[in-house]
């Protein structure tokens, strides 16, 4: 009996510490949202004024469109290349295979930050600065995608492939019917990682873009913050931040557990 009480007390303490930490962690975001919706000309009332003002102060529509193109375009290209290369590396032996694998591992190990300036100059010589393609190109192939698809395809038993061959499927049919379904869970986990990474990425798109036509929303927000900081328009800063944060929060609330387990299932560089 005493033991049970002790356990229950311990659990209560645990949960109260957790709750305190959660409140502390949530407070800054909640505060900014509160300031966005509840301050303005008429103190203490719900208002969209700040949000509308911020939306008009910068071309957020254009920023969001750019972000969408960049994030989805990159996801598509990383998945396609990841599946193809992962399949070839998992399924075939050929000369120089370990060198080829090495190239894709190199992409993981070398941080883009260290080759930033060279990448900028290469884009410059290709006349791709300030374009969406330019923002995307250096990330178009992901080593992490290659490795995770290679892993997924390796775990497919060879007997399954033999059975499909006896059923008269060619190589492409085998790939589509036997291997591709195995890549679905890996794709989902990778999609969460890739989308989060590229939608939050800042330094590279900031350097490459210098007009609104190719700027993603994160870069636009940073530009706006600097403008509002110097002009002391703090309400715009709060509302601009809210424009960026609210969609993420909505998505996260809708799929909290799925997103969290995707994060811990693989990793993010």
């Amino acid at each position: 009996m005493a033991m049970i009480d002790w356990n229950r007390g311990k659990r209560a303490i645990k949960w109260s510490i957790l709750t305190i930490i959660a409140v502390l962690w949530g407070f800054p975001t909640v505060w900014v949202l509160y300031e966005t919706f509840f301050t303005g000309a008429a103190k203490w009332g719900f208002t969209f004024d700040n949000l509308v003002q911020a939306w008009n102060a910068a071309p957020f529509g254009e920023y969001y469109r750019n972000t969408l193109v960049i994030v989805l375009g990159l996801l598509a290209s990383q998945l396609v290349f990841g599946v193809i290369v992962g399949f070839i590396l998992a399924r075939y032996e050929f000369p120089l295979k370990s060198w080829v694998t090495g190239i894709f591992i190199l992409q993981i190990v070398v941080p883009i930050y260290a080759v930033l300036i060279q990448d900028y100059q290469i884009l410059d010589s290709l006349h791709l600065l300030n374009t969406l393609v330019g923002v995307m190109l250096p990330y178009a192939v992901s080593g992490i995608a290659v490795l995770s698809f290679r892993h997924a395809f390796r775990s497919v038993p060879r007997e399954l492939e033999e059975a499909a061959r006896l059923d008269g499927y060619g190589m492409f049919g085998i790939f589509r019917r036997v291997y591709l379904p195995q890549a679905v869970p890996a794709s989902l986990a990778f999609a969460v990682i890739s989308v989060t990474y590229h939608w939050t990425d800042f330094l590279w798109p900031m350097i490459v873009t210098n007009t609104n036509q190719a700027r993603p929303v994160v870069v636009g927000l940073a530009m706006m913050a600097q403008a509002s900081e110097s002009g002391m328009q703090w309400n715009l800063l709060a509302a601009g931040t809210a424009i960026v944060v609210i969609p993420v929060l909505v998505v996260f609330m809708a799929a909290t557990r799925k997103i969290l387990s995707a994060f811990s299932a693989t990793f993010n560089w």
Partner: protein, 310 residues
């Protein structure tokens, strides 16, 4: 009859070789494009960065001669570089220690019940993790704003004066550490939680009955099981903290007096503000060596022990 079968055999063999060659061509062809992308945007820039770090470069980045180690000398001799290195060291050490420490406490508190915890608790705990760093930096910028900000308002309620948190080198760097810990501690918790799940339930049960206080079992069993995950998460934290640049850009622009100028921001300044491409290349090489070593280490830890990629 035998002649016919021999001819048939020969024909089949030649089709087979032609088929094999075709498959090889197809295979290398499919690998060529993705490999070319990495070659152009990782491998070639890597080599050029190393080469340029020993070259004399003009303001446009064109090579004008061989410089030997002059770029490295100029870089390390400048007082700003010393300041930047010191800032980065202080920032990284404190950020890593605090964020991993808090992540550990959170992981222990959440333990196996992590994903069964209430949604509101999870959302408020992990919301900093999922938002862009720039948005997080803006939230703290707003939070710490002189006069307007909540922090100053709260100090006002306590009868204390206002303070320009981002206007003084010490508190500005401190604010950035707080931001880093706020953003990444819950993220690192996720990895530690995944590591805790790997402890078999029988072991957990045995520990509970034999050592209800938990310290011994924690030290002798849980810590060794977790150690690869801890190594991985710590490496990742070091990488993230050394690569921190977004909040510097959004909150302080490296100021006041270079008090918050971190190494990645300094690299950006060297290149895109001061156009000293030679020194920027030298600094890139230093970063390249240290960061690639770290991420290579993380990859090895990951491949070998935690996630079984092979």
């Amino acid at each position: 009859m035998s002649e016919l079968s021999a001819r048939y055999e020969a024909k089949a063999a030649s089709t087979r070789t032609r088929h094999t060659i075709l498959v090889h061509v197809l295979r290398y062809g499919l690998l060529a494009l993705p490999a070319a992308v990495i070659g152009t945007f990782v491998l070639w820039p890597l080599l050029m960065t190393i080469v340029h770090s020993f070259d004399q470069l003009d303001g446009l980045g064109h090579v004008t001669g061989f410089a030997g180690v002059a770029n490295y000398q100029a870089l390390t001799a400048s007082p700003v570089f010393g300041q930047v290195m010191q800032n980065t060291l202080v920032f990284s050490v404190l950020s890593v220690v605090l964020s991993i420490g808090i992540a550990f406490v959170l992981a222990m508190l959440l333990n196996a019940r992590a994903l069964s915890a209430s949604r509101i608790l999870l959302v408020s705990l992990f919301s900093p993790t999922i938002m862009p760093m720039i948005a997080a930096a803006n939230i703290w910028l707003y939070f710490l704003a002189p006069q307007f900000g909540v922090v100053d308002e709260m100090l006002g309620w306590l009868g204390l004066g206002q303070f320009n948190w981002l206007g003084h080198p010490g508190t500005a760097l401190g604010s950035m550490i707080v931001l880093f810990v706020w953003k990444y501690a819950p993220y690192f918790t996720l990895f530690l939680l995944a590591g805790l799940q790997a402890i078999p339930p029988e072991v957990r049960e045995a520990l509970r009955t034999e050592d209800p206080v938990g310290w011994q079992s924690f030290r002798r069993v849980i810590l060794p099981i977790l150690s690869p995950v801890i190594a991985f998460v710590t490496t990742m934290a070091v990488l993230y903290s050394v690569e921190t640049v977004d909040p510097v850009y959004a909150m302080t622009q490296g100021g006041p007096n270079n008090g918050t100028n971190l190494v990645m921001y300094y690299l950006y300044q060297l290149g895109f503000n001061y156009f000293s491409w030679g020194q920027a290349a030298a600094l890139s090489v230093l970063l390249l060596v240290s960061l690639s070593t770290l991420s290579g280490f993380a990859l090895i830890v990951l491949e070998r022990r935690t996630f079984h990629w092979q």
